[in-house]
Symmetry: C2
Subunit: 742 residues, 2 copies
């Protein structure tokens, strides 16, 4: 799938998926394009001859030499003068206080200031290099997602099992064991991925590389639903941790969640670096808390010889069967979501990135299994069952610590780590979008790096989607879980399958071992995916499936559009050599007229000599604005035709009179519009001219009175903008507006 990366242009290494790359917006030219470019250049030489002519003709100093002098820069309209300062390319000191774009309106300026306060000063592209993390920082930041799953995974499993009553609960330990093994297998499997993709092997990359475009897109779809749900579920479960400690807040579940998303949005728009240092603590706190919890619990249990306490009497609502167990398994498997985070983010590690990443991954999986196993064991020993009002973890904490400070600490740490988990999604979601956009499967806007070197657009999109999901399910973890598992394990499966193919192709040193590990991981993931898909289809999985389907459709359409545009935009020596199939892609079809429809009328001129001009100047009256437009048109030394639309013959006569008074310097055509319409006849006339001479490039030169305040616009006819809008879809019609400021 080499062509999958056709568009990543400047980013160099085809695999460098991790580091965001500002130049991705500027695709490079391939060899063939360069060849054509040179040919076109030779064609130009015939016309414009020695380039020096043009340079000598230039009436300004393009480097702005000593101009403007620094003190003149200061009052300029935009507070980011970087490129045009006298210091030549380098920004003047302290010139970093600017927004991404220049606010012109007053409200714009206000929003601009607000943005500065919330997001801080913009960062230079060169700052990207510094955005690396030490292992001890990377571990908490990247494993928050996986570890925090312990807060809802076991509970989700038990919530299903209790339906089978005490008998059902009996299955908790074997299921937990299976999941723990699954974690191990997938963990090992991802270690292989990291080795193979030292520049970051997200499921999208791996699947796309090895299985082809569509599997890649499916994996991406799975990942993105996963990330959206990670945010929703983590926040839901984090809020549950809080409300377990302070039940009075239970009513405010939804608003609290929304506020949290807003906070995450702001924080991530500021960029990741603060994130690292800021986010290390809570994860460690959570690990500490859970270990303490388990330790104390086991100690107590040791007191009565590890004899499990009897759970409260339960009446089974369902019979215990394979289906129930499978559902419990699928729900419990959500405890391993986020295990892939590290393999996506390899480049975010300090060099040697891939080795550090691997070590961190090992640590993470170890911790994950320990925490998960410990929790489940304790649940079993204490005979805890999930309740509506209080989370299982909170119940355990109550039993181990009572209601003292340790309990509070546990709940706080849990809530905190869950919010960080949501944050992990904020690191990954935009990156996947970036990769999709780089492969033309998502709008280019997701290639843009914001002021703070974060993919602002992706971050905003994620926030919106997560909020919608969270509110739609009114922040209930239990009802979100079913959607969750599907996406995650879909991505896992495809990524592992991709790795299998990878090793099979590569056959490097001990490829068999790696292939085996990945095969196991993939197989197991596939099992979970299918289980989840089947058992939870009606209870919400169908949403995820539908989302994936739509995603594939849209992304394919987008790619198709960009390909069309790309083909249309490619340089080609001359219109005739144009591949025929691209012609219909040019402008709306015109009624076939003599000499029309051929390449001649297509917009394919590449050299000055190919362009034949006619300027049309629509005039309402002979005032200064109109006169300037005429002067401008005439000064271009090209044929000019003045055009006046008149509501009646008398007015037409009057205008012709003025014209001859002026001296009749330019050819004038007066069009009578008995229906008082202005735009329609103008456009019709211009279209007729185009049909008459499809080879001409018509330049419509509009005198445009620019009012100073927006509320003045209502006082002026908006002909110019309307005309521009109407002429837009027509081929070979250039619109020039000559402004006149009052």
């Amino acid at each position: 799938m080499a062509d999958t990366f056709r568009h990543q242009g400047g980013s160099g290494d085809a695999r460098d998926a991790g580091t965001p790359d500002p130049s991705a917006l500027l695709p490079g030219l391939d060899e063939e394009q360069l060849r054509v470019l040179r040919r076109v250049g030779r064609a130009w030489k015939r016309v414009s001859g020695d380039p020096g002519v043009w340079r000598r003709a230039l009436p300004v100093d393009p480097d702005l030499g000593r101009f403007p002098s620094p003190e003149e820069i200061v009052p300029a309209r935009f507070d980011r003068l970087v490129p045009i300062s006298a210091l030549g390319g380098q920004p003047p000191a302290g010139e970093t206080t600017a927004g991404a774009e220049a606010p012109t309106s007053r409200p714009g300026a206000v929003g601009h200031r607000v943005r500065r306060v919330v997001l801080g000063a913009p960062l230079k592209s060169t700052a990207i290099a510094h955005e690396r993390m030490r292992k001890l920082v990377a571990l908490p930041v990247l494993s928050a997602d996986a570890l925090s799953s312990v807060a809802y995974g076991p509970e989700a499993m038990l919530a299903i099992l209790v339906l089978g009553g005490t008998a059902g609960l009996g299955y908790s330990l074997p299921i937990a064991a299976t999941i723990a093994f699954l974690m191990l297998a997938v963990g090992v499997s991802y270690r292989q991925t990291i080795r193979a993709y030292p520049h970051g092997g997200g499921s999208y990359i791996v699947a796309g590389d090895n299985l082809g475009r569509v599997p890649g897109l499916i994996a991406a779809a799975g990942l993105m639903t996963d990330y959206i749900l990670t945010v929703a579920v983590s926040i839901a479960s984090g809020v549950a941790a809080i409300t377990s400690a302070a039940p009075s807040l239970a009513a405010a579940t939804v608003p609290i969640g929304v506020i949290v998303v807003a906070a995450l949005l702001a924080g991530n728009l500021r960029g990741i670096r603060q994130a690292g240092s800021l986010f290390a603590a809570p994860t460690y706190a959570f690990i500490l808390a859970v270990f303490a919890l388990v330790a104390v619990g086991l100690f107590d249990a040791a007191g009565h010889g590890f004899h499990p306490a009897a759970p409260p009497p339960l009446h089974a609502t369902e019979g215990v069967g394979v289906l129930l167990v499978m559902r419990a398994f699928a729900s419990g498997a959500t405890a391993m979501t986020g295990i892939e985070a590290i393999s996506n983010a390899v480049p975010a590690f300090e060099p040697v990135a891939w080795r550090n990443a691997r070590t961190t991954l090992t640590w993470m999986v170890g911790l994950l299994i320990a925490l998960f196993a410990g929790t489940v064991a304790l649940v079993h020993l204490d005979g805890v069952v999930p309740g509506a009002r209080e989370t299982v973890l909170s119940q355990l904490a109550h039993r181990s610590f009572g209601a003292g400070p340790m309990y509070i600490f546990t709940q706080a740490a849990t809530a905190a780590v869950l919010l960080l988990a949501a944050n992990t999604a904020y690191n990954d979601f935009p990156r996947v979008l970036f990769l999709l956009a780089r492969d033309d499967h998502a709008p280019r806007m997701f290639l843009r790096l914001g002021d703070r070197l974060a993919f602002s657009n992706g971050i905003i999109l994620l926030s919106v989607a997560a909020t919608v999901v969270y509110v739609a399910f009114s922040g209930e973890t239990a009802s979100l879980i079913p959607l969750y598992a599907v996406g995650v394990f879909l991505a896992f499966t495809l990524s592992q399958a991709g790795m299998v193919v990878h090793w099979w192709r590569l056959r490097d040193r001990h490829w068999r071992k790696s292939l085996f590990f990945n095969a196991t991981g993939g197989l197991l993931s596939a099992v979970v995916f299918i289980t989840a898909g089947i058992t939870k289809f009606t209870s919400g999985a169908w949403v995820a499936v539908l989302a994936v389907g739509l995603f594939i459709l849209v992304t394919m359409r987008i790619r198709h559009h960009y390909d069309t545009v790309g083909r249309a935009l490619r340089l080609h020596p001359c219109a005739i050599e144009l591949p025929m199939h691209t012609i219909p892609a040019r402008g709306p079809a015109l009624p076939t007229a003599p000499g029309n429809g051929a390449g001649k009328s297509a917009e394919t001129e590449e050299t000055p000599e190919e362009i034949h001009h006619l300027s049309v100047v629509p005039l309402a009256s002979l005032d200064l604005a109109g006169m300037r437009a005429l002067a401008y048109a005439a000064s271009l030394q090209q044929p000019v035709l003045a055009l006046h639309i008149s509501p009646g013959e008398d007015e037409a006569e009057r205008f012709r009179g003025y014209w001859s008074q002026w001296g009749d310097h330019l050819p004038l055509e007066v069009v009578v519009s008995p229906y008082r319409a202005i735009v329609a006849p103008l456009v019709n006339y211009i279209e007729a001219l185009h049909r008459q001479r499809p080879d001409l490039t018509l330049t419509v030169i509009l005198p445009e009175v620019v009012a100073r305040h927006w509320w003045h616009r209502a006082l002026h006819s908006r002909i110019a903008p309307r005309l521009r809008r109407t002429l837009r879809p027509l081929p070979k019609i250039v619109v020039t507006s000559v402004p006149f400021h009052v």
Copy 2:
């Protein structure tokens, strides 16, 4: 106030206020302007020499001679090809099925079709002449407003008097007599106006002509509040007539009213001609019904020797005093609203318009007095008092006709005539706006004649305002009345006062008589105005007063803006002769830089030689669109500078590489934007160029990729439009977009 009409341009006769005038949108040039025009022309001769050169250079046949041939016209984009058809100026047969403007989008096309169905085919400007009315049509159409007032005037008066109990009712006859006299006086007074203003003497014209601009505007304000309230009150009272007959509908008062406004809107957008014939009947029916009612009533009364029946026992809530009587008088005076309608609409009569108008006015006043007096007399004789559920007229009808068909007929006729009254306002309101706009006191858009030769914008504005008022007062006549009287009599007073001045200046044959009549009318109107203003101020009149005040403020501001623009746009031989005070009015002030701020940098070039060019071509990449833009720029034979914004040094280098591969034909400037912004650096650079050489006209040539469907826009960077928006306010920067269609 000659200058009040400075702008009416094509309309010729300064007094021709009635006939709407499409050419009003195209002001003519005064003598001084023409002189300057000739001077500018001579300046051009020096440059472009023999005009023939340009004509010979023209590559097309501007008359489109045999092109396009008729069969080619058919598939053209807009269904109104009038001016460019092969038939030369005349529309091809059956070419009248078009909208005012061309729909480009699909929804646009739908709305277009709907409009055709609702409004019918557009009319040619030449159709205006036919829009005249016979006396027998004009009487009902124009007097509906006045006559229908009988339906609420007396009731409004009585509603106040009953507050004084039986004693209060005693005053009904004397007050009625006074009002009748007032009607006579004002009627006679308006006869003078018609004689003096054969082309239509609305209060605005008369007051403006004779008293000055501000009084004219005050009169206009009074009129316009009057018209808005006429619509609201008439509909409210018309609905009351219906609900009196069918009390079950009382709940739906507001929705019914809104529907009626919508119907009036549609009807009037179709234009007045249908109105005439359609609207004659109900007025006659109403006259007939009331006369029959009064006749029967008097006959019954004659039975018991005209001895008034005792009204039901009333307990007075207020003492009977001067204030009460005055309030009753002011309320009752609303019975004469609309009496001015005819004098506004003189040109709508068949020739000899003014004589026909006069006769019609006499007839109308006669009928008005008769109906009013008859009603009040009958109320007195039958001892009827206004009730909440049933209108007075309905009560009278019940007594005279029982509940039989005659009763139904009366109520139906009343309702119908009241709707027509509302329609009268629809004829006058837009006309006043047209006059205001012609004098630059209202937005020019009110000069535009719609497809159907109606002032669509004014009609729409009236509908909106009336709906707001009607809904705000939940369609209760009683609560609308207080706002009503003020505006009406304000306009009356000023118009009469204007006439007094007029006669005093003119001193033609029997000017004394006319002056006396107008003086009396004016004096009496003033009394009513003041009475209403004082007695009803708290109960709603203040709204009207406030509205008038705001109106003056806004209209004066608008005039000021148009004057500024007008001055700025006037031709002047050369920039130096520019009056200094207009310079600040040009564009945003720039930081003063060498050679800037002087006339040089003002947008005052009127001849080609004055314009010195530099084209700047911002390039994102060297694709076909960019190449065409370069070719276009170079083909203009003017200095060109290519500009590339690069996110980093590497990309900059890469682009320079491409450039030299191409052959380095044009000077290139690469600007590095370390903050990844694009628009801001571009604009800053262009501004810097402008500061460097303020005398240059910078043409920014934008390659613009035009996507075929709007939903594709999200997939392309919207740089070009944003750049255009940001460059708009800057002086001497021409923006050219070279479209490339995919």
